[in-house]
Symmetry: C2
Subunit: 221 residues, 2 copies
């Protein structure tokens, strides 16, 4: 009686979304099709439609799964510390799941985890004494920066420390014409230096933004 069917976990909406995230992480969002997803779960395509209305719902669902991995900021903590931690946490999540950045543009129905995340962030700023206006400004600014940075990271053809050189060198040769001297300069003198990691640039911008907000918050409070 130990058939494959009896051994495998029962289907559920949760499990469908978990497997969808895993599949997108491994093979990219383009490889996430109803058929491959069903196969990865040991089922047939149409079985999934019992738990999920359509593929769009899967896409909305996995974006919300990503938010559910992110620790919420503490509304009564020190705002700058909380915003710093949150920013790093969001970036880390988007790095683990690069497909999520591109997905956000097309999905407009936020899930419960997403809403909880937004709510906790707004609460932290308001509790710290930010005016409504400044809260809105700050949130738009911080999220724009975080998402934009994640977008650029996702677009990079290399990942992490040192690997830049291997990839970039062949490309650089096309630039030997001298048409792009400043790009070459930045590449040679900065990006191709050993130990370079684009991800390290994140902290610079984040601190600059938080410094600017500090100044404004002090002026308000």
């Amino acid at each position: 009686m130990t058939t494959a069917a009896s051994q495998r976990l029962p289907l559920s909406r949760e499990r469908v979304l978990e497997c969808a995230v895993a599949l997108a992480d491994e093979s990219g969002i383009a490889a996430l099709t109803i058929r491959t997803l069903a196969q990865s779960m040991g089922t047939k395509p149409m079985s999934l439609y019992y738990y999920v209305a359509n593929k769009d719902e899967i896409l909305d669902g996995i974006v919300d799964m990503v938010f559910s991995e992110i620790d919420l900021p503490a509304p009564h903590g020190e705002w700058r510390e909380e915003m710093h931690r949150r920013a790093q946490a969001v970036r880390a999540a988007l790095r683990r799941h690069p497909w999520a950045v591109g997905l956000m543009e097309s999905r407009s129905a936020p899930g419960p985890a997403t809403l909880r995340h937004h709510e906790a962030t707004l609460a932290t700023l308001r509790t710290a004494g930010f005016s409504i206006q400044l809260t809105a400004h700050a949130y738009a600014l911080l999220d724009s920066y975080i998402y934009g940075f994640a977008l650029q990271e996702a677009a990079l053809p290399f990942e992490g420390r040192d690997t830049a050189a291997e990839i970039t060198n062949p490309i650089m040769e096309r630039f030997a014409t001298g048409e792009y001297p400043h790009m070459v300069e930045i590449a040679v003198e900065h990006v191709l230096k050993p130990g370079y990691d684009f991800g390290d640039e994140f902290g610079f911008g984040l601190d600059l933004i938080l410094d600017g907000l500090s100044r404004l918050a002090a002026g308000e409070g």
Copy 2:
């Protein structure tokens, strides 16, 4: 002799890309298929493949077309003014072509217009006396903010001034449970006020970032 065929413009790579941009603007990037594109040009799908290797090349091409619409910054101008103008120009272009933001994540082969744009921007910062390190930091920061803002704008279900209210009101009713008090507060006291336009938030963050960079540049120079 005035057949449809003789009247229509001759095909060319340029025209294929122009029509692709127009189609994506009108109907969204998902509607841009080889068949719909061919139909919009009054020809048959396979004819396009003479001018373009495959669909990926079309996608790379239209991203580059978007960059080609953006005025280059002047390397010898006042850097802050040039960066301000450039940021606004990029955002405006990404607003006209919202699909471009999502596309950037998946395309990693930059076209000539894209490269020229990067080169001119880097040149402006370096000419203004920014160190290599600060130039790299500043560029990553500015572009992250611009792209992230455009991403959020593209995800909004409404567009421009005032229309927020019409869309948001029905959604708000679901929040009447009191689970998200701060989101409701921001919505009621800020977003739903007459004259609100999310796009106006762009200037706030941009000025904050440029202020921060000014301080650092002054410290360097």
